[in-house]
Symmetry: C3
Subunit: 304 residues, 3 copies
């Protein structure tokens, strides 16, 4: 036990030292666990019957929806209140926080029917765009994309309402589950589809048009973040116009970079400039070396 006391003293002394990684005696942060549970409940409200064990009949749906909404409303209001207390938006004074939390929560839940309409276009795009999809049910049950885009569209609503912390906790939960990071700030049009998802990153100030199809490993990122916090709020990420397709591993950087409507971007391409509408951008393989393994240089490089 003496050992534990000594270890404790060292560690507590380390907590006391100036440390940006402590959170003690501060205001209460939103709970990661509660926000995660809320996100699951919101997915159940968006896709009724898909994430429940038993068959739901229309006759019961109203009662069940009301019960779930009631629970979500109370819990979400609490978390939003904590987030606003922690980091109040400009102009919001302390005494108005509770009222504001209530208002934001009700407005947000009122946007669910509109979010469902958008998601319907995404599921359609996924089914239309993937010959391996056997049915829309398979898409909703097994495609990581559906979860990722549903969470982004939910988090985007909260982001637009300037709710701190919660949108990012939600989007990072989806990132952990799907491997795709869609920042809550990104503006994403209808009929969006990302196949496979893993490794795709869509930055905070990205703008994406309608009918855009992307694959895994695609980066829509910032050209340079050497300016760090000084760049906050600036458009740092590209714009993707309507009907663009982007193949796996393409990296597109920069706030002024616009991929024109109807273009196709090939796999593994690296782009920092705008591309005219209806373009095809590819590496055509001319500059790639194909050697026989009997070639000595080849053997040197790969020790084979």
């Amino acid at each position: 036990m003496e050992t534990v006391t000594q270890l404790t003293n060292q560690l507590v002394a380390s907590y006391a030292k100036a440390g940006g990684i402590n959170h003690l005696d501060g205001k209460n942060l939103p709970s990661k666990r509660v926000v995660t549970a809320l996100t699951c409940d919101l997915l159940r409200l968006l896709f009724p019957g898909f994430f429940d064990e038993k068959l739901i009949h229309s006759s019961e749906i109203k009662v069940e929806t009301a019960a779930l909404l009631d629970s979500v409303l109370g819990t979400l209001e609490d978390e939003i209140r904590k987030a606003l207390e922690y980091q109040p938006p400009d102009g919001l004074v302390k005494k108005d926080i509770a009222t504001e939390a209530r208002k934001l929560t009700v407005d947000f839940l009122g946007s669910l029917p509109r979010i469902r309409e958008l998601l319907q276009t995404d599921v359609q795009a996924a089914f239309d765009g993937d010959p391996a999809a056997a049915s829309k049910e398979e898409v909703i049950l097994s495609y990581p994309f559906v979860e990722a885009i549903a969470v982004q569209r939910l988090a985007h609503e909260l982001f637009l309402k300037n709710v701190p912390l919660i949108p990012r906790i939600m989007s990072e939960w989806a990132h952990a589950r799907t491997g795709m990071e869609l920042h809550p700030g990104a503006k994403i049009g209808s009929y969006f589809f990302v196949d496979h998802c893993t490794g795709t990153v869509v930055g905070e100030t990205v703008v994406i048009g309608n009918h855009v199809k992307m694959y895994h490993g695609v980066t829509l990122g910032a050209k340079s973040t050497a300016g760090g916090q000084l760049l906050k709020g600036r458009k740092r990420h590209p714009t993707i116009e309507d009907r663009v397709t982007i193949y796996p591993g393409a990296t597109i950087l920069g706030g002024g970079t616009v991929i024109g409507a109807g273009s196709t971007i090939g796999g593994n391409v690296f782009i920092m400039d705008s591309v005219a509408p209806n373009s095809l951008v590819i590496y055509d393989g001319l500059d790639m070396r194909v050697l026989s393994k009997n070639d000595k240089n080849a053997a040197l490089d790969f020790q084979i």
Copy 2:
């Protein structure tokens, strides 16, 4: 409470509108939660003693295996029956579904010993291929690859038996855990190994030979899916012959693309054509620009 009623009415009205994302009053889908639990149990049957807390002795193994198999048999049969009712394969009439579900389940469980033999070659390949592996036990306990390939080989059996939905739910569970998407349809030979896994995607109609080694971020994909559902069933993804090695980030597309036996594909390469046996394909760096940061052009691009 009035607010909740109003929100509920809006949302339920949205459910009632024609919507591809509802699942109400339909037939019961297989349960994602149950299929996930089944997959874990199947992994325990494949790797006895590895995923259990206590030491298992040979004397107990028969009783424990029988109990687990009995439980898996009943549960899997239920889920397969639901999947067949939901989307009956051509020629299967309703009254025969229960019998067919039983038969498919028993056949599938009878294939476990054969799957174990294949997995033994994969574990061997992982150990042989990675100098960082300290033991085969470390490989099984900590390499995401083992989980991913085990689930693929299980799901592939169900895919071959035309079981709807369940194989994809299984493979997407593994995708979420390992970051690698191995479609249940892919035909994968023995002694397969993918190191690191994250971001690797292997499409539905891929064919992979024996002793193939790949890294993370490798795409074996379709050249174009603009044809969408019209392409269903066509061979859209490449063939990788025996003893090929594919480095991280390589993208290989197309149903007619064949990577000849014994070839090595370098990192970040983009390929849409076949490669002769025993080739080495690399970007050799000749076309890459290496600039000093005092160079003005460099400074313009990256603002450094």
Copy 3:
């Protein structure tokens, strides 16, 4: 029941056959489940107040820390003992294993304050380096990087102490959650930051300096592992000097490859040679083809 008996017999016969994928009648391996729970507890010790529901006050922190440390000490000691029994380091005889397990555990827990100091620099680097970060609290609560680097720094301590299996179980847990694989063997300097994380792989013998910033999909890997187990212990992975930035999708291979201090490596670049300090390495797009989609060749490749 007869079916189950038959299936059991087949499967148990398969267990009995020489099989590298069984673990029966052997020594007890460390438990994956327990090591995972321990890792979560260690994260709570590193970031007090961040992963708990209720507000922690300074007055309670000592008692709570002591209780958690006491529990971690006992459990970790058990798991380390099992790991040492399973795979005793050279020169450690059986009768000394329990004492050694105790010593290693206490030493390891004594290093937590030092690990916290390093992590503080990482959180600072993340906040400074990402304009999308609204606060350090947001970084700790929602950035996968923080979890990944915290687990790596913990696992690295155990790796240096030659504890078998446990460091890799820990790092693969973080890999599964964040998509980034930081091998416990890698030496990583202060003020490290990886944005987005998914698909980044840092190999066992990598050395990284201070103030290094990387993105997702970056590989610091081995040039060839065809030598397999013969290469064990050799430096196979690159060295990244101070103040280097590496953009998404870059692949850097080889034990002799050194990226000189202050350099910037562009996206999707493939490097197998050293780069002088203060260099900028990019694909400048000169060799990329940008075609109008009316071009016939383009149409052939992509069927558009």
